[in-house]
Symmetry: C2
Subunit: 440 residues, 2 copies
């Protein structure tokens, strides 16, 4: 072992699930990690408001405090690991750590999606790294893949199952034919969904992650406020069953795609062909599919949450930072993959109306002659072409479900068509619409 | 753009498929790659014995020569890309480039699997990098994932479909019910298999790659001569069909696994449960499944060969090297993931007899009372327990196929049992045996 290299001291702020996992894994695998990094890496200080918890987890193996800012000021600490979460105190912690010349490792997607511009600019100015592998897709090294593994490529798009809670819910709805509400209750009981599951089921968490992916894939600023976000609360079991009959599965995807004039950044339920590996990612697992112009399709799969999987990403970042910690080139790879002075200037986030997708439409229709003709006429008017059509046997009351898969068309054309479809006297209630991607 | 950073000059040796792809992609995406790397990266010199080809591909955009060693001596070149292949001249090129203080990027798995120890030691001594992302699984950034993305983990095992030719053949055999020989011919016609396909179909190519994976996963020396290698030539369509009836698919896997006293390093056809993503990797695609103690299972999927996918990996390495090219810490990450003076000393490659696997046994038996009793007695004697049993209806001649899936047991116990099974008077011909992995 190279004895010239001194131990790296890490200050860990937040000893909850991921913090506890980070502590445990770094301790358990200390010997192997040191053999990789070439120098010992140790969490020397831990800060948490809950001193009892901190004492229970850490014991006498690190200095414990309830003052996060004491760690940030400590000249013996080179790397601050922020696992507080949220955009309140965490923002101050990260910005002050940077200001004090500390490198930062964080799993905080909400913080970076909202304040990434400010944070990365401050870090670049100070010559420190803010590493965030754990912020997207948990233990999967997707940030490293996008930012370093695929540097040769013009990234065309990425599409990911990047929220385990919603994927668990959708998998259960399909497997057991249960309603969204019933599965959500079960997920909460099993700990796969939080007591307040809004951020997950409304797609906000996935949008935080997609925002970061868009930035590093295309060299654009972090722009969470421009993301289109639609959750899974309106999905019905019937849609999952109809999709299956057509050879599709429904997944909540975070999708970022480069068009000629801008970038699509969107989170919504999506029909994808059942043969794709991504369609077979079940339960709480995550996966990201990336299309590069040279490499073609690559896929990255693993656990997107949980104490040790997330700790795996946090520690990979710590090691990465530790390797160049005390050099002048700590910012070896730019935070957002592209040099800060070389971001794309001609790639705004496109308004949702300009987004291109295929579609699944479920229309409850009166089983009357001529109904189908009127529907297809409306679609034709908007230049929407039909890829597949499924008419179910009549339900009660002389009504039936008509399922239409459309080819790719603009969002605004679909919305215009739906508005007209809903006004037809043969149409009962709302048209259910789910976007569809072939992912090729 | 940071103007302080000078252009990196690359010397490319070998302008065949991958070399041509590297030239094309680096040229096409030059602007985007520069924006990532923070400095222009250019192939300024190209060497190939075939000057006509080099002229055709490169034109006047680089200096062309048929003397590879002229590039290695050129003081203006910082990075040598070796895409000659094989273990003859390529070895001299790589070693002399290192000796001259050049960084090397190579896709040459055969060279590194056989002479990695010598090459990496020389590079470490000189403080230069020998980067080899393209040597394993083509465009998939699996070396980066194993060496950097999963540093927090004690890697337990990795199992990969790391040879596209054999995966294409096995996929076609299953889809179309054809024999190995027929599909091989088709694969050769389509360009998925070479005129002399030995290295692919006998598992040698996969073993080169598995050897490198074992080294970086477990911190052990590169030891190709200790790898167990079994190809796919003896697989019959019947086995693929029987496996399917039992819920399995057959894939040629490269498997590296840590046991208490050593490491398993092996390539062979393997039954894997059809529900695993790995089982659904079809055609010429590659994928590697990795089990880490913290992260759990992660999977990496993409194209394992071809001009541009391989170029994607070559260029990612060039950019990686370019970032630290002229610094004193070019060897930021050790070649074999662990510091050269911190390799594992207590993890020899285990002899095949000590390897643990489940098994598929197909026994052609005379349809006689008592035959099954004798077979199960032999297995019990070797402490091999049966997980599933499938007896087919009698074939012609009063014979039938008996399929047995065993639980995990030692290789030597299985071999001993097979020897006895083949001596039974009710057994006709050889016992077909294929290993089986659950991959959990």
């Amino acid at each position: 072992m190279n004895d010239n290299k001194k131990q790296i001291n890490v200050g860990l702020i937040g000893i909850g699930t991921v913090g506890g996992g980070t502590w445990t894994v770094l301790k358990r695998n200390a010997e192997e990690i040191t053999r990789r990094a070439g120098r010992p890496i140790k969490i020397t200080h831990v800060a948490d408001k809950n001193l009892d918890l901190a004492n229970k987890v850490v014991g006498n193996d690190a200095t414990i405090t309830d003052d996060a800012f004491a760690l940030i000021k400590n000249p013996d600490i080179q790397i601050i690991v922020e696992l507080v979460g949220g955009v309140g105190i965490a923002k101050n912690i990260v910005l002050q750590a940077i200001e004090n010349g500390k490198h930062v490792v964080t799993a905080n997607k909400a913080l970076l999606a909202k304040f990434g511009e400010e944070i990365f600019a401050a870090a670049h100015k100070k010559g420190v790294m803010v590493a965030f592998e754990a912020a997207v897709a948990g233990g999967i090294p997707i940030i490293k893949a996008l930012r370093e593994g695929l540097t040769a490529n013009r990234i065309e798009w990425a599409a990911g199952i990047i929220n385990g809670t919603t994927n668990f819910i959708l998998s259960e709805m399909r497997d057991k034919g249960l309603t969204f509400a019933d599965v959500l209750k079960e997920a909460q009981r099993l700990g796969y969904a939080e007591a307040d599951p809004t951020f997950d089921i409304e797609g906000v968490d996935a949008a935080h992650k997609a925002t970061l992916m868009a930035a590093i894939a295309f060299g654009i600023p972090v722009q969470f406020d421009k993301a289109y976000i639609e959750g899974i609360t309106k999905l019905e079991s019937a849609d999952i069953a109809y999709a299956e009959q057509l050879g599709y599965r429904i997944k909540l995807l975070g999708i970022v795609r480069r068009q000629q004039d801008g970038v699509e950044l969107r989170v919504h339920p999506t029909l994808i062909p059942e043969k794709r590996l991504l369609a077979n990612v079940e339960g709480a697992m995550n996966a990201v599919l990336v299309k590069g112009d040279a490499v073609g399709l690559t896929l990255y799969y693993g656990k997107g949450a949980g104490a040790e999987p997330t700790a795996s990403a946090v520690i990979a970042d710590i090691v990465d930072v530790a390797r160049l910690c005390d050099s002048e080139i700590a910012e070896r790879v730019p935070h957002l993959a592209f040099q800060p002075d070389a971001l794309s200037t001609n790639l705004p986030i496109l308004p949702m109306g300009e987004v291109l997708t295929g579609n699944y439409l479920r229309i409850r229709v009166e089983d009357k002659a001529g109904a189908l003709a009127k529907i297809t006429a409306i679609l034709a008017e908007q230049d929407i072409s039909i890829d597949a059509l499924l008419q179910k046997e009549a339900l009660s009351k002389g009504e039936t479900d008509l399922i239409i898969l459309t080819h790719i068309c603009k969002e605004k054309a679909v919305l215009a068509a739906i508005e007209k479809l809903e006004k037809l006297e043969t149409t009962k209630g709302k048209v259910q619409r789910i976007r569809r991607e072939e992912l090729l």
